[in-house]
């Protein structure tokens, strides 16, 4: 019963998404003002050839700070869980 319900929901969602996908046009984004500004002024302001690096580390530096924190937290979580396992087995000296 639950399986059939999920299949039904997925079919409806697929039809909806396909109708939406047919409405997009590939290769011509509508709003490009901000990106044109980055492309035109990034080299002069940050003195870098790679505009993607400019955005990742300078214009959107806070994003990258949060992302590094997420990676750090995930690694800490993995370390905590596996330490729990190793302690529980007690056949491995950490």
């Amino acid at each position: 019963m639950r399986r059939e319900l999920s299949v039904l929901i997925m079919i409806i969602l697929a039809i909806f998404l396909f109708i939406m996908a047919a409405g997009f046009t590939f290769g011509s984004p509508l709003e490009t003002d901000m990106d044109d500004y980055f492309i035109m002024n990034g080299q002069e302001q940050i003195a870098t050839n790679n505009i993607v690096t400019t955005i990742v580390f300078d214009y959107r530096g806070f994003d990258t700070l949060g992302e590094s924190t997420v990676l750090f937290t995930a690694v800490i979580g993995v370390a905590l869980m596996f330490r729990m396992i190793v302690r529980g087995d007690s056949d491995e000296n950490e």
Partner: protein
């Protein structure tokens, strides 16, 4: 339909990921479905920022100045790293669950809990 083929691929990937999450009973396969869904979102972000006949937004020996939008690529970079972090966390959850319950089947785990 061929002019927006990338969007069709995005929808197909998203549906495959959702079907894997909803219909499979193995935890590892569910986590693979989450990864496929993440890939669909990344592809959608990248496809949104493509201009016709454009190059990557890097000025070193650039053949032309018609460049793709850089902001979606930067956001996609963030998204990829967060996807790696979440998949590492999910796989270690799977290892823990297999240690404690002896199985990674969701139904069996639900029965064992009671």
């Amino acid at each position: 339909m061929l002019w927006n083929l990338p969007y069709i691929v995005v929808v197909l990937l998203a549906i495959i990921g959702l079907a894997t999450i909803l219909l499979k009973r193995n935890l590892i396969k569910i986590f693979l479905g989450v990864s496929i869904l993440t890939s669909a979102v990344n592809l959608f972000i990248i496809v949104l920022g493509y201009r016709e006949n454009s190059i990557a937004p890097i000025y070193t020996y650039a053949p032309s100045l018609n460049m793709a939008l850089p902001t979606p690529q930067a956001l996609c970079l963030t998204s990829i790293v967060i996807g790696v972090a979440t998949s590492a966390l999910m796989l270690s959850f799977a290892v823990i669950i297999h240690r404690y319950y002896g199985t990674v089947n969701v139904d069996e785990i639900r029965e064992l809990k009671e």
